[in-house]
């Protein structure tokens, strides 16, 4: 629908939002991009080194582990918080006491990353609660030093992150499910569809938009996972459980290799942006046509 042209005052409405975004988000991105082509180590003079940081980045063996972890995190985020959250939201909808169930799943979401990390560290630690439980129920054979080896350390942290983040997914999908028109569900029921068929044939197609939002947000958050890893393993042992955000933090702030850290940040951002763009594209485009 083409309407009269909007006039210059329209753009005044963007300015209050745009100024903070430019100064707090876009300027640092530009600066990071610039530093990623230098050998900056902080306060000292630095030179342009072209693509060296990127090439080093791709040739470092520890990076293969990191990239492997990124893949595990990404797949697991789709499988666990998103699928589980959707399943819970669907099962909860219409059940008596649904508010209480939803509240239980949502509670960990308000806890700080430090609290979540400390709790799950104490569960998975070699002397921790999980191994203790296994002894008590006579399954010593399954005991492991969960946090000391890859890939169980990454899996342990995914469990922690699932525990903390599923509640939000439940709420978002609940919102989506509640806005599915009741008549369509009733019609399906009259046609004799069971709960499983109702979900796939009637509800699922109508969740298209909220699905894109949830998947986009969940993937972006998982790719930049930091707090939980930092508290539970610090990325170790021997950097085996590092994610890109942790690798970047280590290079920049602990090793003072700002140039190298910036290159990792750029790679990380391209990944997050690419994944989110694909996840969101459909949802956004649909609305764009008004």
């Amino acid at each position: 629908m083409s309407k009269s042209k909007s006039g210059a005052t329209t753009y005044l409405f963007f300015i209050p939002a745009l100024l903070p975004v430019l100064s707090i988000l876009l300027y640092p991105i530009g600066k990071t991009l610039y530093l990623s082509f230098t050998n900056s180590e902080g306060l000292t003079e630095f030179q342009f080194v072209g693509l060296t940081n990127y090439l080093n980045f791709f040739s470092e063996p520890v990076l293969r582990t990191t990239m492997g972890n990124v893949v595990i995190w990404t797949v697991a985020t789709l499988l666990l918080p998103v699928t589980l959250g959707l399943a819970i939201a669907y099962i909860v909808s219409g059940v008596k006491g649904s508010g209480i169930y939803r509240m239980i799943f949502l509670l960990p979401y308000v806890l700080s990353g430090v609290a979540v990390g400390t709790l799950w560290f104490n569960i998975f630690e070699t002397e921790g609660l999980l191994n203790h439980l296994l002894t008590v129920i006579g399954m010593e054979g399954f005991q492991k030093s969960w946090l000391l080896y890859a890939p169980t350390n990454t899996i342990a942290m995914i469990v922690a992150s699932t525990w903390a983040s599923t509640g939000l997914v439940v709420v978002l999908f609940t919102v989506g499910i509640q806005s599915v028109p009741l008549q369509t569900v009733e019609a399906g029921r009259l046609d004799g569809a069971n709960a499983w068929q109702l979900f796939w044939k009637v509800v699922w197609p109508q969740l298209k938009y909220i699905r894109a939002v949830v998947i986009g947000t969940a993937l972006a958050n998982s790719l930049r996972t930091f707090d939980i890893v930092w508290v539970m393993t610090g990325g170790g042992p021997a950097r085996s459980s590092e994610t890109l955000a942790v690798t970047m933090y280590r290079e920049s702030f602990l090793l003072n290799r700002y140039g190298a850290g910036s290159a990792i940040a750029v790679v990380l951002m391209i990944l997050v942006a690419g994944v989110s763009y694909f996840a969101l594209r459909n949802g956004v485009k649909k609305e764009e046509v008004m």
């Binding site: 975004v21 988000l25 530093l35 609660l129 919102v175 989506g176 933090y249």
Partner: protein
């Protein structure tokens, strides 16, 4: 029908146990009696001393200024970012700007930035502009980071507002600001309320920006102050750290419990 609902409850209770058991472990260990608690987490109840543990945390780290700062950052940061985001959302939805997609990604795209990558450039520019370790400086950071998602939620909701309302107000001679203030703002208040809740929680729990951009007790937000307890490991027992973290999360938990209805209603219309 009835059998189906029993099955659902059984399944839900089974799943909920996975959430309740860790919460139980967190609570009993955070509030355990320090005299009975041995260095590691325990499945068993070892006394109940929430006030004592919290008092110890309060003494070890000076939490009062952190709490005050958090209210300042949380309310102003979430409030201002949601307000300016709603102006931009209104413009993109109702005012038919040229290059709509470009405006959308310019504001929303920033949401895709990994936060750790902001720290170094922000630290440098804050050091040179004198914003380092100031309330307004950190507030500006929270506002900037909170805008994109608030904008996204506000825009989704405003898309559901019938265009006829806008046309009608134009015929009545309303200018853009009046259309915003009389139609779009009031009708999207629930969605903006949900956005406020989201961003308030995020700001309340922020750790890294507070750690990197502030240093004095007066300016530091709560979670960053609390994390200095971690640094005193050995001196401060884990239950004390946890109970402080737990109690620091109560305000946001309270907001969610009170605001859940609003929250769901606010997001619903925008989906």
């Amino acid at each position: 029908m009835k059998r189906q609902s029993i099955g659902r409850h059984a399944l839900l209770i089974f799943l909920a146990l996975g959430w309740v058991i860790p919460l139980y472990l967190l609570v009993i260990n955070a509030f355990a009696d320090l005299k009975r608690w041995d260095a590691i987490f325990d499945w068993n109840f070892k006394g109940w001393e929430p006030r004592e543990n919290f008092k110890l945390a309060w003494e070890a780290a000076t939490l009062t200024p952190g709490l005050k700062s958090n209210l300042f950052y949380g309310i102003l940061g979430a409030g201002i970012s949601v307000f300016v985001a709603s102006l931009a959302a209104f413009a993109i939805v109702a005012l038919n700007p040229k290059r709509r997609s470009m405006w959308f990604w310019l504001i929303y795209g920033a949401n895709l930035v990994p936060y750790p990558m902001l720290l170094l450039p922000l630290f440098e520019s804050f050091a040179t502009t004198g914003l380092y370790d100031t309330r307004w400086g950190l507030l500006l950071v929270y506002i900037g980071v909170a805008i994109p998602f608030a904008f996204f939620l506000g825009r989704n909701h405003m898309l559901s507002i019938p265009k006829e309302l806008l046309e009608a107000s134009k015929l009545d001679g309303a200018n853009k600001m009046q259309s915003y203030a009389r139609i779009f703002l009031p009708l999207s208040l629930p969605a903006l309320g949900a956005a406020f809740l989201f961003q308030f929680t995020w700001i309340w729990n922020d750790l890294v920006f507070g750690l990197t951009l502030t240093t004095s007790d007066e300016i530091r937000p709560l979670m960053s102050t609390l994390s200095t307890l971690q640094g005193m490991y050995g001196n401060v027992p884990t239950p004390v750290i946890l109970s402080a973290n737990f109690i620091a999360s109560l305000p946001t938990a309270f907001l969610y419990i009170v605001g859940q209805r609003l929250f769901v209603a606010g997001l619903k219309a925008g989906s």
